[in-house]
């Protein structure tokens, strides 16, 4: 029989400016950057950065709930594979991710609609 590695996924909520140090700590623990994605929930952004441990199969996710327009520092200088994920979150969701190492200037996907997944803007914004 196969020896099964099936630990529960862990989710930790953090502030936007904590993501570089948290990412660095996970990399130092032997994790690999696995994915990042955004969701619009109740007209607010939710960002998830996930790290996977390839020996224990642990999956660890940092959750960020940024304020409207809040800057989220890029982790691409710590985790180069985050490049496409961060460009995608900014282009499709309008997440204000700054200093992406390979900044595709919201032209990663060649779509006409601007930030199709972003929260709806309130009047006056």
């Amino acid at each position: 029989m196969t020896e099964v590695f099936c630990p529960e996924n862990i989710l930790e909520e953090i502030k936007a400016d904590q993501i570089p140090e948290k990412a660095m700590a996970k990399i130092a623990e032997g994790y690999r950057f696995s994915q990042a994605c955004a969701a619009t929930v109740d007209n607010h952004l939710e960002l998830s950065y996930s790290f996977a441990h390839d020996e224990t199969y642990q999956f660890y996710t940092f959750r960020i709930l940024p304020e409207d327009g809040e800057e989220i520092p890029s982790i691409t200088r710590i985790c180069p594979p985050a490049t496409f994920y961060e460009n995608e979150m900014r282009e499709l969701f309008g997440a204000n991710i700054t200093l992406i190492a390979l900044d595709l200037q919201d032209k990663m996907y060649r779509i006409e609609e601007v930030q199709p997944f972003a929260p709806e803007k309130k009047e006056g914004e």
Binding site: V4, R32, C37, P81, Y85
Partner: protein, 364 residues
């Protein structure tokens, strides 16, 4: 610092190129014939399928997610259902687990054989390409026999599977995989020992284990760099009842990627045999789910091309807030760029092909 006398030029590669079945663009910085830097560019066929969760209810959405990619269609459908099942916290019946494992291994066989054929074609070995694809037809016929369709099978459902397989069909499958194994063992010698294959694949596109880990490589691409990362070890579906060890190679080059995928075809045949032998007698296929999903879940599975991450966020209505698919090619693009640097321009086609790119998956 010694000054280089090589001539520098920037060459655009793709999005339309004879080696690329799907569009990806690379800006290559060349010094004479050597690639010194590469800038990837995707986004030519973004379809916005994930946006459709806002318009399709969570049951209908399964049919949309299957269409993310034709080759990995079954695994995408299964992954979507597994994610919603995790949100509902339901366990599917044992027979459904075995059928899902068996069909996903059939999917792996035809995906790897498609790649092996394309690889043979890319290095100019046409008869090998024909041989592999001839065998691939047999597994596609089995997928059709079991599910009614060759690629988009639509047999998954939240809570289980929609179709059962009777003993006769299992016997036909058993006979067919014996034949495929025999055919593949015949071409194995060519893939592993032929001089022309080795001369095109050995020593090119090196990705060290350290680079593979740091850059987030997944699937056969990572396993060919000696990393035993295979999500089937997590024991999804019937895997806890199956004897299985990830196949790895320490050669880290294109040849190693060919070796890993080839051996995985034989391994998948073995897993299917084990599934047939241990198939539960209880024919219950679905655990009913009631109401609408509420909550969120991440699910990771091993697709033919590597780790795929599904994320669902549900709000208690029939429409999800978000469904996200992180496909293996999305993860493998950055490490691919690393393998290209320092290589000869003439090898670029093989290098790109060596990750088994699926741009359709990547763009969703």
């Amino acid at each position: 610092m010694a000054e280089t006398t090589a001539k520098r030029s920037i060459v655009p590669y793709g999005p339309q190129h004879p080696v690329l079945p799907e569009p990806i663009h690379l800006d290559l910085v060349l010094e004479d014939e050597k690639i010194v830097d590469v800038l990837p560019n995707v986004g030519f066929i973004h379809r916005g399928l994930e946006k459709l969760v806002q318009k399709k209810d969570f049951n209908e959405m399964m049919y949309v997610i299957e269409r993310v990619c034709g080759i990995c269609s079954f695994v995408h459908g299964m992954g979507y259902c597994a994610t919603i099942e995790k949100v509902f916290d339901v366990e599917i019946p044992d027979r459904a687990k075995f059928l899902r494992t068996m069909w996903s291994e059939m999917s792996r066989i035809h995906s790897h054989m498609l790649w092996l054929g394309l690889l043979a074609d890319a290095f100019g070995f046409e008869s090998l390409f024909y041989q592999v694809w001839r065998s691939r037809e047999q597994i596609l016929n089995m997928v059709e026999l079991h599910t009614g369709s060759r690629l988009i099978s639509s047999v998954n459902k939240v809570g289980g599977v929609l179709k059962d397989v009777d003993d006769d069909k299992l016997k036909i499958l058993s006979k067919t995989i014996d034949q495929i194994e025999e055919d593949m063992l015949r071409v194995q010698k060519v893939f592993f020992e032929d001089y022309s294959v080795q001369s095109r694949l050995k020593g090119i596109g090196i990705l060290t284990p350290e680079q593979a880990h740091a850059l987030g490589a997944v699937g056969p691409f990572a396993r060919a760099s000696g990393i035993p990362l295979d999500l089937r070890m997590r024991g999804d579906n019937a895997m806890p009842y199956i004897d299985f060890e990830p196949i790895t190679s320490n050669d880290c080059d294109c040849y190693a990627r060919c070796y890993v995928r080839f051996m995985e075809v034989l391994q998948s045949i073995d897993i299917i045999r084990q599934c047939i032998a241990k198939m539960p007698a209880d024919h219950t296929l679905v655990t009913p789910v009631k109401g609408n999903p509420q909550g969120e879940a991440f699910v990771r599975l091993e697709q033919p091309r590597g780790e795929v991450v599904y994320y669902a966020k549900a709000n208690g209505t029939k429409f999800l807030d978000r469904f996200r698919v992180r496909t293996p090619t999305f993860a493998n693009l950055i490490p691919l760029c690393e393998t290209i640097k320092g290589e000869n321009f003439a090898d670029l086609g093989l290098l790109v092909l060596s990750i088994d790119p699926c741009i359709s998956c990547t763009e969703r």
